[in-house]
Symmetry: C2
Subunit: 333 residues, 2 copies
């Protein structure tokens, strides 16, 4: 079963004894066998940044066979090898992508940052993703109490949760903040008409479906603005034309909420790899290296939308890229 010779671990010479005095193992029995539970814990985790309270609320994980060109400048073999080396390979040719919105309670405002793949995804994924609204409830957060929703960019896994399964606003009392540059680019019908790939046509159509259901009632924001107390936008263009990240700061603490500066930690370890969803891959890579150099040199925490839940990590620079160390789970706040 294992190459380890277990006896070789017997580094001591303490003699075995006593067992016979107590009878053979397995002579007691509690009750009938307990059936397997089959259920996972709810997917939320809380931590503090100064006096701000952040609740990480997973939307779940999609597992899928990655398409050709998943990493534009790497072969399928290289991608499989990279996934295996980072222990992120559920099976050959497969990836598992987590989605991790957060909620920030600033004391005065309750702020959702990105919204997940949408409840309709629950059925498609057999419950594995589309969990954001369920986990939000499990965390004791009422979506009617959300004051502000901040959107990083317009890909479906970040905006589809703006709507309920029946296409009503998920956060009826919230102001929806969207990047001005993203709004300008993606709502331009001329830009839409230029698209040649099914994927990009789908992105344009998908975001129109969402924002039309909201009667396009959104508030565009600029980079380098305080969008809510202690929450500042940072332009991190490249993944999309108007992609923004955020710094959440309170007191002496801060965390960088990166959205899609990288996807899974595979792209932290390999910052030069061009994910097919990076619309301008060279700009995305330049942005990624700038942000990660900053995270490493300042030892700043990063909250990664596509990192494994609870998606909060420290970053260090390595000879070939960067490496994440997940922040230890704290059982108390």
């Amino acid at each position: 079963m294992t190459n380890l010779d277990r006896r070789s671990l017997l580094a001591g010479t303490v003699a075995a004894s006593g067992a016979a005095l107590f009878g053979p193992i397995g002579t007691r029995r509690a009750a009938a066998a307990m059936p397997p539970a089959g259920t996972q814990n709810s997917g939320w985790y809380r931590y503090k940044v100064g006096s701000h309270e952040i609740t990480v609320v997973t939307d779940g994980v999609n597992r899928f066979k990655f398409p050709d060109g998943f990493v534009a400048n790497k072969t399928r073999e290289e991608v499989n090898a990279g996934l295996a080396a980072t222990f992120l390979q559920p099976a050959p040719d497969m990836i598992a992508v987590p989605y991790t919105p957060i909620v920030v309670n600033t004391g005065g405002k309750l702020v959702v940052m990105d919204t997940g793949t949408g409840e309709a995804n629950l059925e498609r994924s057999k419950g594995a993703a589309g969990q954001f609204h369920g986990n939000l409830k499990a965390a004791g957060i009422d979506r009617n109490q959300i004051d502000t929703v901040i959107i990083s960019h317009f890909h479906g896994d970040h905006i589809n949760g703006l709507l309920t399964a029946d296409n009503k606003p998920s956060f009826p009392n919230a102001e929806i903040l969207v990047p001005a540059a993203e709004w300008k680019y993606f709502m331009d019908d001329g830009e839409m008409s230029k698209q040649t790939t099914d994927r990009m046509k789908g992105v344009f159509a998908g975001l129109r479906r969402v924002f039309d259901a909201l009667n396009r009632k959104v508030t565009p924001y600029e980079p380098d603005k305080e969008l809510a107390p202690g929450i500042t936008s940072v332009a991190t263009y490249g993944h999309t034309p108007g992609h923004n990240s955020f710094i959440v700061a309170s007191g002496n603490d801060k965390v960088f909420v990166q959205a899609d500066v990288t996807n899974m930690p595979l792209f932290v370890r390999n910052p030069g790899w061009h994910l097919m969803f990076d619309q301008d891959p060279n700009m995305a890579e330049a942005t990624r290296r700038k942000v990660y150099d900053m995270l490493a040199s300042e030892r700043m925490l990063v909250q990664g939308f596509h990192y494994p839940f609870p998606s909060l990590a420290h970053i260090e620079k390595t000879s070939t890229g960067y490496r994440e160390t997940m922040v230890p789970w704290s059982p108390t706040l």
Copy 2:
């Protein structure tokens, strides 16, 4: 606030626009400010090993100022530097040690493996540790249904949870399995009389308190024995004279339940560091290197009692030691 010139991240030239059309940010408001929740999610996580269902149940985390000699062969300065390098330093001279028992449902048997610091620790730690029994309940597991408790070794953080806060058996219907070599050594009054340090005298006294409350009704086990279906003991002596680890296997899957082969991942990265709790530090180091070489070469999962919850990791070998990558949280089983 940050050395990063945020404008330098503006790698694109998309003009800002549109904001004025929608009015200033912050013109809507959901309701009264929501008070901070102040509570953490319950600390349990479930995964499968073949058909076995493992529930990781955290006992919490103790934070304390580490004493002189915490790492016998390293100075305080080196320990602080190592903690900082591994992002495991809550503050200078401080450590945070997690405790992570697991429950295995083999289908026929419900098995607890190690038991945490005990409920009395809840008060001492202000709720940060001593959580095992509370989280067990949160995970839907009734302690009266436990068939078997397997103890790795006799340090208090592994055995104190055998008793309730009022010193009654926590698992009244379970058989308690203990390492035969551990039992022989620690129950020997001659060995107890040889002890010269307060810490070791405390270890001997503490385990007598626990086992006497159980009327010493335990079943000693030998290494390399199947203690429950698919759960096999592995002698990993050094940390204590009779310290055992375990392989939990089902179908093609397996996980190495290491107990204290290492403590926190600090000692994964630095396998030559001698933690003060390693009773025979040279034997403990030899065992550690053998086990970790095996984990790395076989790409075997390790469940680490003192790893951050949920304490399940992959191991790779590095030029200076080993490194862990925590297994991504799965939102489904």
